[in-house]
Structure formats: C-alpha cells, structure tokens
Symmetry: C2
Subunit: 214 residues, 2 copies
DNA sequence: ACCTGAACACCGTTCAAGT
DNA sequence: ACCTGAACACCGTTCAAGT
C-alpha cells in the first residue's frame, strides 16, 4: 500500500531511522503490527520498499548545469548523476541509513541505474568502463549518504583541545578539522572526475579494465 | 576489560554484526548482562570500543610498497593508507558495519589519524589540503568498508535475466555487472589519486581550498 | 563493596481466535 | 475471507535483593 510507505517515510524523516519499527508504524496507521504483515513479508521487505521509494524521487529534475560549464559532456553527466543521488538521499537521511540493511535493488533503483548507464554509454564510455564507472560512483554516493546523520556531529571540540605533544599533526590542522561530510563528498567526487578525465585522455600505466594490480 | 572486547570481536567475526547483543556477549562470557554494564555505560559504548579495537590493528604493518613504484611519494603514501585501512576493516566486516552507529573517535582512531596526517604533511601537502585529503580518503574507506558483507551478494542473476527492451543499457552491460565492492574500491581510489595528482600539478580552475562551488 | 536475577519497556514475527 | 489481540522469543537497560 502506498499510504503505508508514505507514512513510513514520514516517520523516518521526522523521527529518524531508529523510529521505523513495525509497532510505531502500525500505530501511526492506527492499526496493528499483524496487519502490516499482510502487505510486507518482513521488516526488511518494508525497508527495501521505503528505500526504493526514495530512489523514485531521483527520476525528477536531472538537475542540469549545476556547476561550471567549461568541461566535457561526460564529466558533467557523471557529476550531475552523483550530485543528484546525493541530494535526494540527503533529503531523507533516515532512509539513507537503511541502505546498510538493504542494497537498492528495487524497480526504481533499477530504473535509475538504467538511466545512468545509458547516459554514460551515450557520453562515449566503452561498455566495461561504463559499468565500472557507474558502479564506483553509485557506491561512492551510497557510502557517503549512509553516513548522513540528523544530528550534526560535535567533533569540533574533539580537535580543539588536543594535546599538541601527542598529536602534533592533528593539532596543527585543528582549525581545518573536522571537514564536513558534504565538503568531503564534493571534493572526492571532483577528484574522481579529474581522474576519469586523465584515464580517458591516456589510459596510462593502469589499463582501464585492470586499474588495480592487487 | 580486554577479555570482554576480545570475546565481542570474536562474536562479531564468527556470527556477524547482528550477533553482538548484550545478552549473547554476556552468555559467551558466562555472565549476566547487568555485569556488562559495570564495564560499559551502554551498548553504544561497547560498540565504540570494539570498533576502536579494530583501529588498533592499523598500527602494524604499514604495508609498504604494495603497488607499482613509478609514482610520487605522496601518492604511494595515500594509497598505502587507504589500502591498509580497507584491508584491516575487511578482516572484520562485522565490526566495519558498526561504524554506522559510532564514528571512530576512540584513542586508536585518533592515533591512526595523527599518523596519517603526519605522513601527508611530510609528503608536502599544505595544511588545509592535508586535512581535506585525509578526511575525504578516510570517509571514502569507511563508506566502502561499511558496505562489506559476510554473505557474498547474489546480484549476479539480477542482471542476467533482464528485460532487454526495458533496460537496454543495463542489459548491454550485464556481462560486466555487478562490479565487486573491492574492484569499485580500488578503481575509485586510483581515480582520486590521479585527481589529486592533477590538483597538485596545477591547482586549475577549482582552487584547492574550494573545489566545489556549491 | 560487589554482583546478578528478575523485571521493565521495547522489538520482529506468528497464529489462534474473532468478525 | 479478512483482520487482529495476544503470545513468543528476543532486545537494551535498570535495580532491588542477595553475597
């Protein structure tokens, strides 16, 4: 039932990931937990569908030219894709946290992957390179999004009053720490896009289909 | 108590993250749950200390020259750091999953950061660049490590029997999907290292201290 | 002073009993 | 045929009662 998923997502957005229990959801629906099991096989099934509901939001607003336009088309495509995924997941940090329990394999996630892969292929990526690039960028976004938290971490003071003798390097960089999750995300993404550019310009010593000799 | 943490880590390694409950841990210690609360303020406290125990393993074996040696020193340092973190966390996938509940702020995590930051500074990184690079690489490793799972995902068949009409791009790349988590990790890491190289060679249109105009 | 059985308030899931 | 109260087997946490 769509209403159940809508209420579940609302519960998640308003009270966080730990609030999404079968009992609280049933109560929010003025029902009993047993009734939920007539619509979902298990809590994991429910969670998977809530997650896929969020992936459905990625269909809208491909977000266009958010950043400077002096770059190659494929680079903008990759950036837009990753940005958009991150922004949508960021609207539902509670749901993003649930990704650790259920990998996104629902229909909306499948559609999102299809659209992304099609864009990469159309942008001139060779097949194996397209698959690897999408997989890596998507996993990158998911890994960061999962770490989104409603409470804004208080690590500020963790570095402020640090023993300069025991932690000289950390102490020296205290004013630059902590780096916000968003800043880390955008910085790392730009690095990967730059790296992809270098790969496409000249495959270099690490061939595209075996970048890691490990 | 060190014995408690050792048994907790063993429980985690042998039976996964969901097996680390206060009751099962107490039972493995031939004790009661109430006794655990004389050593730990809460389950979260226990989990944080187990996680920090894993970070303690990062002290050993800096892993040296794992990869090709034709590159710059700072690049090898960054790669070794990320590889080593990933390998150690990969030895305890159950513990890595717990990172979603507790950010690594224990003493061993502090030491690991101090060592890493010192290496970056010694490798010629400017202060803010060092802070940002470490934060991003560490978060990158954590995001991937959290997604490590004991069970080897069975998404293979997800792409095998896919409707070619509805998912043409995905279908075309079915033989290259799914990409393993490890492959994604190493590929993305190399991209970031390449990107960092480009940044250091010429700061370019995105200055080092503001890579994202968002 | 130290320990712990038993309780409390939760949780996911199931099923017999109701309509 | 559909629904659900109540139970079962868990969970984190606390505390009175024991030693």
């Amino acid at each position: 039932m769509d209403r159940i998923l809508a209420v579940a997502l609302q519960l998640l957005d308003e009270h966080g990931a730990e609030a999404l229990t079968m009992r609280r959801l049933a109560e929010a629906l003025s029902s009993g937990t047993a009734t939920l099991y007539r619509h979902f096989a298990s809590r994991e099934d429910l969670v998977a569908q809530v997650v896929d509901q969020v992936f459905a939001e990625m269909r809208d607003e491909p977000s266009g030219e958010l950043l400077g336009g002096g770059e190659l088309r494929w680079q903008n495509a990759c950036r837009d894709m990753a940005h958009h995924m991150f922004v949508v997941l960021g609207r539902h940090p509670g749901a993003a946290r649930l990704l650790i329990d259920v990998p996104p394999t629902g229909p909306n996630a499948m559609n999102q992957r299809e659209r992304s892969l099609a864009i990469l292929l159309a942008s001139g990526f060779e097949p194996r390179m397209a698959a690897r690039t999408y997989a890596t960028l998507a996993r990158y976004v998911l890994g960061f999004a999962m770490q989104l938290t409603s409470a804004p971490g208080e690590e500020q003071h963790l570095f402020a009053g640090l023993d300069a003798a025991r932690f000289p390097a950390t102490h020296a960089l205290a004013s630059a720490l902590p780096v916000s999750l968003e800043e880390e995300f955008f910085f790392g993404l730009e690095l990967m896009l730059k790296g992809l550019g270098a790969l496409r310009a000249r495959p270099g010593p690490s061939p595209p289909d075996d970048p890691s000799p490990l």
